[in-house]
């Protein structure tokens, strides 16, 4: 039988679609809203006022950068001014989204799903919006971005790190798997690490099952999980640690030494005078008859490594599932975020702090069910991004950035002008600017401000 609809069925379907479509309203008032340049409750300013507001906004935005720069160049003070800031308005009734807000944040578009890192002079973002080409962009100030290269088709980045002039991206190559007739049966994910030594212009790739990477004094360290299929009755996993001096050549340094019946999962890795690997350990799942595919063990544990050998696992007082790439070393301690329910379905979350990587204290940040997504340390200040786990159906997702100068007391930073339903996912800082990024319904959103 043909895979398509038969001619008669196709005609019936077309007629039904035509009838459904014909019920569309005429909506004449929308013409006024768009062509008349006025949205209900809004007034768009005259272009001259827009330009005037832009000039003020540009100066306000450029001033802190000028003050922070010992010898500002023409390029920094002139061309670095984002044209996006030109949408600043002079009317308090409008909602400026790309000019500095009262809180000092500018807001702009960015490809959805972008991962960011700070580099020696600015930022790098890697994003793959539609599983097509993974675009790499660089920026000196977080506002003006230039495309510098690509990871190639199907490359989906999950994390990007910078160390000593080398960029490392952890992610996967996603390809459609098709049957003999060319129909898509599913997708294959091949974990990979990409490396660039020229700020993202050219990349080399190795296939490695890493889920997190961190910079070390000797280069990079990555952790991941490998499945042991030697016994078909069990889903057994081992945690694996790889190290690399240059991001391109990786060596398996250690793997978890698990007794019979026990699995280990390495999740996050950070460097704090030594490598701390946060993960889980416990009895592995029985496959036969159980239908279980989730091999996530139950007990949070921490491993330590000097980059050559691996310690025995130490019990951890963390509760919940570790969020990916959400562990950071700060001046106040190691901070990690977790969530509850299942590894993928989240209902509650928490932020934790520890001085030794094993004894953790839950931080009291803000009541409510937030998913915490990223952590950055800027001198003594620590910033955490997050958003409401449950969409309450209100006017937007409650999304936020929390700040602390001591790791104990947290205040929420206002982000006026952030589009509704933005889910903040990333926060990074260079020497001159702080940048946060997230996803909205149809686009990515980036916001930033000069560092104080």
């Amino acid at each position: 039988m043909s895979n398509d609809l038969r001619e008669m069925s196709r005609n019936d379907l077309r007629r039904v679609l035509g009838e459904m479509e014909s019920l569309a309203p005429l909506a004449p008032e929308l013409d006024t809203a768009v062509v008349g340049h006025s949205i209900p409750g809004q007034t768009r300013p005259h272009p001259f006022l827009v330009a005037l507001g832009a000039a003020v906004a540009v100066f306000a935005l450029a001033l802190p950068i000028i003050l922070l720069t010992a010898t500002p160049t023409t390029e920094q003070t002139g061309e670095s001014v984002p044209s996006s800031a030109m949408t600043a308005t002079s009317s308090p009734d409008t909602t400026p989204t790309t000019a500095p807000s009262p809180g000092g944040w500018w807001i702009d578009d960015i490809p959805m799903g972008a991962v960011l890192t700070s580099v020696d002079q600015g930022f790098v973002s890697v994003a793959n919006e539609n599983l097509t080409n993974s675009e790499v962009r660089t920026s000196e100030d977080g506002m003006v971005w230039e495309t510098s290269g690509s990871l190639g088709e199907g490359a989906v980045p999950m994390d990007v790190e910078w160390n000593g002039g080398i960029l490392v991206v952890v992610g996967a190559i996603v390809t459609d798997a098709t049957d003999a007739e060319g129909e898509i049966e599913g997708r294959t994910h091949t974990p990979a690490i990409w490396t660039s030594a020229d700020r993202g212009a050219k990349w080399t790739r190795v296939e490695l099952g890493a889920s997190d990477v961190t910079a070390t004094p000797d280069g990079f360290a990555a952790v991941g999980i490998e499945r042991d299929d030697s016994d078909p009755d069990y889903i057994k996993t081992q945690g694996v640690l790889w190290t690399s001096p240059d991001g391109a050549t990786w060596t398996e340094t250690a793997r978890s030494d698990d007794p019979e019946g026990v699995s280990s999962n390495f999740r996050n890795v950070v460097w704090d005078q030594q490598l701390l690997i946060l993960g889980r350990r416990g009895p592995h799942s029985v496959t036969e008859g159980s239908g279980l595919e989730d091999s996530d063990p139950h007990d949070n544990v921490t491993w330590f490594s000097d980059g050559a050998s691996l310690s025995d696992p130490s019990p951890s007082s963390l509760t919940g599932h570790l969020d990916p790439d959400s562990t950071a070393v700060t001046p106040h301690g190691i901070i990690a975020t977790t969530h509850w329910s299942t590894p993928t379905v989240k209902t509650e979350a928490a932020v934790w702090i520890s001085q030794d990587g094993t004894n953790w204290t839950m931080l009291d940040i803000e009541p409510g069910s937030y998913e915490y997504t990223d952590i950055v340390s800027i001198g003594d200040e620590v910033l955490i991004t997050g958003y409401e786990i449950v969409d309450t159906g209100g006017d937007g997702i409650d999304t936020g950035v929390w700040s602390s100068m001591d790791g104990a007391t947290w205040t929420r930073i206002a982000l006026p002008g952030l589009p509704e339903f933005t889910k903040l996912q990333q926060v990074v800082a260079s020497e001159s600017a702080i940048v946060i990024a997230g996803d909205q319904s149809s686009t990515g959103v980036i916001a930033g401000r000069p560092r104080p």
Binding site: D12, V16, A33, I39, S84, T87
Partner: protein, 158 residues
């Protein structure tokens, strides 16, 4: 990288032209996705959001696919939040004279599958164009069509 918008242009004239060019197809697309009662609201929200963020439709690099994707995303968001419940059986029986069973089946498709079916079978657009308007890969459109046909064949070719 070129900015996405440029206020040195006279955006008002371009906005009117873009709107006149795409309004009808967008409101019809929204009607297929969320039903006639909610389509105007969806389009209004999309346009308002774009004007708030970009200041003008003409500042978008390529307005048509952007608008189509925004309409699909807004429609999906409303349905997820249950602000719009499209194509209820009673409404279909009252307003669709021909094959209400097929209309019910079309109305029960997930939004992205319904969008792919509409753009392919009614608008007669090639897969590559449907993918562009939906913001996905051609292979994904084929998968949506494959899944949709499986469900629609139950009523069209029992």
């Amino acid at each position: 990288m070129q900015p996405k918008w440029d206020l040195t242009r006279d955006s008002g004239v371009d906005d009117a032209a873009i709107w006149r060019k795409h309004k009808e197809e967008l409101i019809r697309y929204a009607t297929i996705l969320v039903g006639a009662d909610h389509s105007e609201d969806v389009l209004s929200t999309v346009v308002e959001r774009i004007l708030r963020r970009h200041g003008s439709l003409s500042h978008l690099d390529d307005a048509r696919p952007y608008l189509f994707r925004a309409v699909l995303n807004e429609s999906r968001g409303r349905i997820r939040r249950r602000r719009a419940i499209p194509w209820e059986r009673e409404f279909i029986e009252d307003h669709i004279g021909f094959r209400p069973d097929v209309a019910t089946a079309v109305g029960s498709l997930p939004e992205r599958q319904r969008a792919a079916v509409y753009l392919t079978y009614w608008r007669d657009l090639p897969v590559s164009e449907v993918a562009n308007l939906m913001g996905c890969r051609p292979g994904t459109v084929k998968r949506y069509l494959h899944l949709s046909r499986d469900r629609l064949k139950e009523v069209l070719e029992p």
